[in-house]
């Protein structure tokens, strides 16, 4: 039986655990039945160690749930980045990680043999030249080392740290990295830059920040490469529906041409928007449902698909393309009432959250909002956020209109039916 270690070799093995601990939080050991109980125990111990300040436990009878909870608006750095910093390494890896830059920091390039000799003389460490060569090749691939040919041999040097090579960029660059590590895609990389400069973010916080996105970055990288190269991809995806309960549903394999990453700032989800030749329509896949991405051949019609997407996007409320481009969009209209003097924030909301819909003042205090939607069902959550102020709601798709009013009626029944809902409130 292998010894427990804080560090791991493969990221995909812990991705779903981190997600379940953070998003759900109510799961107990019995709910993680895809792997053995010992695997769960080890992963739980890792979570407790990586996220120690944010781990809570809840005892319910003889079952204990361990979960990760935090207010993202208070975080200087996304704590989930810790999961990315858990890669295991060997003794040679860490030794050379510090000795090579220390030795080569004088700016004088050296051959492998010279490096081996000097490591022995200066640090009393013996490494075989093959180990050093492999490590320097790795550093060169990762952009840390520089190789140049002199005569018949290769000489290796190390790149200069930015703060030394460009002191005039600081502290501005440090501030920018502090901000973008929380506000840009692949923010984890920004946090590693702060690590490399021995700095921390003392200046910025991020409201409504969906920290969970970082777990999808590993699949996002090859998708972006495919988009850059205008390639098709093969996706391995698993349904995200009802992930609260263990599912034995198999993963699906799909071929698609990736076109755009659609990021929701309000629901915590990110999607890949792609053209599917098999169905001849646009599809979206939640990034957290994608388990693997494989690059295929370039798509000769990539630019055509992209142009078609640009034409379709103005009709898409969220991420659903409905039956576009086969059929036209649906029309949704709602009338909203408010006191124009006291409640001008409602008008602000309609204007700034309306995503290009048209707004007409029918009479003082009554505004009509209209928009074309590829799939009007997606419009419903926003419409419902105006509950209490909607005078009329109409949709060219009767099922959508029906659902809206059904939902309103159900809410009335719940909050005003027999008894008082407040009786549920625990003291």
């Amino acid at each position: 039986m292998s010894e427990y270690k804080e560090l791991i070799k493969q990221f995909d093995k812990i991705r779903s655990y981190v997600r379940d601990f953070y998003i759900y939080g109510f799961k107990t050991r019995d709910d993680f039945c895809e792997k053995s109980g010992r695997t769960y125990d080890n992963q739980r111990r890792r979570m407790e160690s990586w996220f120690s300040g944010y781990i809570r436990t809840e005892q319910n009878g003889h079952k204990k749930s361990v979960f990760l909870t935090l207010d993202s608006g208070r975080m200087a750095v996304n704590p989930l980045y810790q999961a990315w910093k858990s890669k295991a390494f060997t003794g040679n890896d860490i030794s050379l990680r510090f000795f090579l830059p220390d030795l080569l920091s004088d700016g004088r390039p050296r051959s492998i043999e010279t490096i081996a000799d000097e490591l022995q003389k200066q640090y009393h460490c013996l490494f075989d030249t093959q180990t050093i060569r492999r490590k320097l090749a790795f550093y060169e691939k990762e952009g840390l080392a520089i190789r140049k040919k002199e005569g018949k041999q290769y000489l290796y040097g190390i790149t200069a740290p930015l703060p030394q090579a460009h002191p005039g960029l600081f502290p501005a660059l440090w501030l920018a990295v502090s901000f973008f590590q929380g506000a840009a895609p692949f923010g984890f990389i920004g946090s590693t830059i702060l690590d490399f400069w021995n700095q921390k973010n003392d200046f910025f916080r991020f409201r409504s920040d969906y920290l969970i996105h970082t777990l999808e970055d590993e699949v996002l990288l090859p998708i972006l490469r495919a988009m850059e190269q205008k390639c098709q991809i093969r996706i391995t995806a698993k349904s995200t529906k009802n992930t609260a309960v263990p599912s034995s549903r198999p993963a699906r394999f799909l071929d698609a041409t990736p076109l755009k990453i659609l990021t929701s700032t309000q629901t915590g989800r990110r999607y890949l928007c792609a053209w599917q030749e098999r169905t001849r329509c646009f599809s979206t896949f939640r990034l957290d449902s994608i388990q693997n991405v494989e690059l295929l051949l370039p798509d000769a019609l990539y630019d055509t698909h992209m142009a078609s997407l640009q034409r379709a996007l103005p009709y898409v409320w969220g991420v659903s393309f409905g039956s576009l481009p086969k059929t036209g969009p649906e029309t949704v209209t709602m009338e909203v009432c408010f006191d124009e003097k006291e409640e001008d924030f409602i008008l602000n909301r309609l204007q700034r959250e309306g995503r290009g819909g048209s707004l007409n003042r029918l009479k003082p205090g009554v505004y009509q909002y209209t928009r074309l939607c590829a799939d009007a069902t997606e419009f419903l959550p926003w419409a419902k956020s105006f509950t209490g102020r909607i005078r009329a709601f109409y949709c060219s798709n009767p099922a959508v209109e029906q659902r809206f009013w059904d939902d309103m009626q159900k809410m009335k029944e719940y909050y005003f039916a027999t008894g008082d809902a407040a009786e549920h409130e625990k003291p």
Partner: protein, 345 residues
């Protein structure tokens, strides 16, 4: 080297390397005791990292320390240099290059700094293109990042936060009044949903009492240094603790329409607790929130409709009931008010 050949999950970024680097950095100044190493490992590592790292350093498995010629029980670094700052990897540079195309990036730099950075990264491909992403539901009135005045204000604010100096600010209030006041800028908050920067700035009342004000950076009309400095760090969170809710919001979430999954993701940014109810079909979600954002939370809850129900606290429930109670239903539906569709269309 293509930008996407890099690996995100790499030993180069491992937490242990950073812990060891911090220990070596401290040891570059003076030899360390085991206790000092353990403290640094606890401060910068995972919860159990000290148990793995320090013995290997002490025993020489990771041969960065020597005891020769130093006081007993202390360990000196064998490195010649402080390991910080470290050179950036291609992945890190590639990320920086991608940021350069972001409209917000210019807010941090002068024109000459931008030019210098562009030259420093001239041969680095960007990790992604900003056009690859679409924030499809971000509010339409985000801050004017391209405005020269806005950029100028941001540079002054950033400098003032770093150096802790007071600023005299002319500000257009929500009620369209122009205020002029002296504030100590402490922190910037960025809202992903609305694309706005908010400045958390400390002000002193007439009695000398400190308070934390929140200013929309886009509403700042003028800004200038006062020449006065504040000697200490300001604990912004201490001020914010006062606005935390006394009683958390309690919701009942069903599994219909994938509501549990949607709600848990939606409310993931809050501190929360979720419990499975005995019926196995509903979940009780307790959310701890900042009272300043209560209306925003209320709107979010309403957007879920009947699949998310408010159980308490009573003031929040009353607000929900008021909204639901005010909602008219079409004629013919069971409810306390109605509208006649024929009047409207």
């Amino acid at each position: 080297m293509k930008s996407h050949d890099f690996s995100l999950f790499s030993e180069l970024y491992t937490c242990y390397y950073q812990v060891v680097a911090r220990i070596l950095s401290e040891a570059a100044r003076h030899p360390l005791t085991r206790r000092q190493m353990e403290n640094l490992a606890r401060q910068h590592g995972y919860d159990e990292s000290a148990l793995s790292i320090v013995p290997r350093l002490i025993q020489g498995d990771w041969p960065f320390f020597s005891q020769d010629g130093h006081p007993p029980d202390t360990y000196a670094s064998v490195l010649k240099n402080d390991p910080f700052p470290q050179p950036l990897t291609g992945l890190q540079k590639s990320w920086l290059k991608a940021l350069a195309a972001d409209a917000r990036f210019r807010l941090f730099f002068t024109d000459s700094q931008l030019k210098e950075l562009e030259e420093a990264l001239w041969d680095t491909p960007p990790l992604y293109r900003t056009t690859d992403f679409s924030l499809f539901d971000q509010y339409g009135d985000h801050d004017p990042f391209s405005s020269a005045m806005y950029r100028e204000h941001m540079l002054v604010i950033l400098n003032a936060i770093c150096e802790r100096h007071f600023l005299s600010v002319g500000y257009l209030s929500r009620k369209k009044k122009i205020l002029t006041h002296t504030w100590l800028p402490c922190r910037l908050e960025y809202g992903q949903r609305d694309g706005k920067f908010r400045l958390y700035a400390m002000a002193f009342g007439k009695t000398g009492r400190k308070r934390m004000d929140v200013l929309n950076v886009a509403r700042i009309l003028s800004i200038q240094k006062t020449g006065r400095y504040y000697p200490a760090l300001v604990d912004v969170d201490h001020f914010l603790d006062r606005s935390l809710c006394e009683k958390p919001l309690v919701l009942e979430v069903t599994t219909k329409r994938n509501a549990l999954e949607r709600a848990m993701l939606h409310f993931a940014c809050y501190q929360k607790k979720v419990e499975r109810q005995e019926d196995g079909k509903t979940y009780r979600c307790t959310i701890y929130y900042d009272k300043r954002w209560e209306t925003e939370l209320l709107v979010q809850v309403l957007s879920f409709g009947p699949v998310v129900k408010v159980l308490g606290p009573k003031p929040f429930l009353d607000r929900i009931r008021e909204r639901v109670g005010n909602q008219a239903l079409p004629m013919g539906r069971k409810g306390d008010s109605y509208y006649d569709k024929s009047d409207l269309f």
